[in-house]
Amino acid sequence: MSSELAQIQQQMLNAVTGTSTAVQECLQSGPGCSSERGMDVYRNNRRVVLKSMLSSVYRIVAQIVGDDFFQALIHRYVQTQPSLSGNLHRYGDKLPALLRTMPEAAGLPYLADVAALEWAWHSTYYAPDNADFDMARLAAVAPEAFARLGFVLAPALQLLRSDYPLYAIWQRHQPECEVEQVDLGMGGQCVALWRPYGQVQIRPLSSGEFQLLLALQQGASLEQAVESLDSLTDGEAEVDVQAVLGWLLQQRMLVDIRVAV
């Protein structure tokens, strides 16, 4: 059973997010602000707050498409995507998906991947901190158990794969960049984002490094992760596994280890 308060809140939410006027029956106008004007203030607040959030996250997308397109894009997003959290920083995760379905964006096939990179950057920035891993625990693992070793990686680590040169596009849009043009024909790139000491870091990965890290992040044992490289072509599957593990340790991305029985 829905309470009177719950009903009023549902009606007000419908009025703020859409065009419903049912809530007006519950409202009284004040001397300086009619109830219609009052609801306009809330509707406008919502649009301004959500759009400014999207603008702060998707800066490169905005640079690529220009202001008119970007304003239309975030307007559509705000009209169709509800916020689901009282923490505003969670809003905007579905913009890459929206771009993939928009005919107007079809001429920029890499745009959705750029948006995904920007969302990953934002998520890495706000990801929880993780404690330092005690290296003695790794030293205590028996050599014969190493293949069965699984890792819990830092929540801030994000791995992306694109059919386009995502890292080069990202570099092109950094303030200090002098490169004029990215050759889209140079092929796909994989990217890692992480946060070793507060600041977000980014680097390109080879397909093999990406596959290895992705498998480990998803819970595979070291042996399973190395086996998963078999799905790649010979050239791509060449990975210096030790170097990747060393990088994880040095960049504080190892949170926990476990040995599968």
């Binding site: 309470s3 009177e4 308060l5 719950a6 009023i8 809140q9 549902q10 007000m12 939410l13 703020v16 997010t17 029956e25 519950c26 409202l27 009284q28 004040g30 001397p31 300086g32 602000c33 109830s35 004007r37 009052g38 609801m39 203030v41 809330y42 607040n45 919502r46 707050v49 959500l50 509800p82 916020s83 689901l84 959290s85 009282g86 923490n87 505003l88 920083h89 809003y91 890495t124 920035y125 706000y126 990801a127 929880p128 901190d129 993780n130 801030a156 946060r195 507060g198 600041q199 977000v200």
Partner: protein, 288 residues
């Protein structure tokens, strides 16, 4: 929990991080940080922890939605709990508003009818927050742009009843009651008279913008003359209290913010000797 100094603090905004971390720490007695900006971890929280070494911090939530009929968002409460445990702030506050219905959120401070049913619900939610945090929170009155036919008591009466039910404190936003006076016709002075003396823990000051006849609580301007008057009256009634100057849009350089805070500090110092009115005075009529 330590207490906020009885002095005028300012809102901590990203544009002023550098100022607060400079070799010469700006002379600000305390800072208020918006809790949600520091959920999770990383640079934002790291910066807040460095600033915290220099200044007492108050954590001010804008996303809990204490009056949401659907109840509190457990994730949100857990994140706040974690932040409070990490920062160990001098004070924690939230707004008397709702933000969530049917799984959707409006990231704003939305009003609701002040009824017995709502009091029951908000008291339950405040209890839940205070239990999770292990401390009393201060609940702030709202700037509203609509009012409801169903309302059975004033917002001030509602807050007074909430204090009695939950042991929470009141964060009195003087600008909000002025905005509501102009927009909705409430009486700002009557509002203050309805609040229990001794239960107001903090005062907020800010500036509004105008949209034709309507005042919008945008925190984008200096404090207006009428609000300065109300502030002095509030101090006379509730005693000298920690006060915050808020500025959220078109944020000026810190020096401008500090000049505005100085004006408040002068009024607060004049009130320094005042004690909250005692119960006898209250029962024999108000001086306001």
């Amino acid at each position: 929990m330590t207490q906020l100094p009885i002095a005028v603090g300012v809102g901590l905004r990203g544009t002023h991080y550098r100022d607060f971390l400079a070799d010469q720490a700006p002379a600000v007695p305390w800072l208020e940080a918006h809790s949600e900006n520091y959920f999770g971890g990383g640079a934002a929280l790291h910066t807040l922890m460095r600033i915290r070494e220099r200044y007492p911090i108050s954590l001010h939530g804008v996303g809990m939605g204490l009056a949401s009929a659907d109840g509190l968002d457990a994730d949100h409460l857990r994140e706040l709990q974690q932040l409070v445990a990490t920062v160990q702030p001098a004070a924690v506050s939230e707004h008397l508003s709702w933000n969530r219905s049917g799984g959707q959120v409006i990231n704003d401070l939305l009003p609701f009818p002040y009824t017995a049913e709502a009091l029951e619900l908000v008291a339950r939610n405040v209890d839940q927050v205070q239990q999770a945090l292990g401390c009393a929170i201060a609940v702030e009155n709202l700037s509203s742009y609509v009012r409801f036919r169903q309302t059975a008591m004033s917002e001030a009466e509602f807050l007074a009843a909430l204090v009695e039910r939950t042991g929470c404190k009141i964060l009195l936003d003087v600008n909000n009651i002025y905005v509501n006076q102009v927009n909705l016709g409430i009486d700002a002075r009557q509002f203050m008279r309805a609040l229990p003396v001794g239960q107001v823990a903090e005062i907020h000051l800010a500036g509004f913008s105008t949209l034709e006849d309507c005042l919008v609580d945008s925190h984008s301007q200096p404090v207006c003359a009428e609000v300065w008057l109300l502030y002095a009256e509030a101090l006379q009634r509730f005693g000298a209290l920690p006060t915050l100057l808020e500025w959220d849009i078109d944020i000026p350089p810190l020096t401008v913010l500090m000049q505005e805070a100085d004006k408040a500090q002068q009024i607060l110092q004049q009130a320094g000797a005042w004690q909250p009115m005692n119960r006898e005075q209250k029962e024999h009529g108000d001086v306001l």
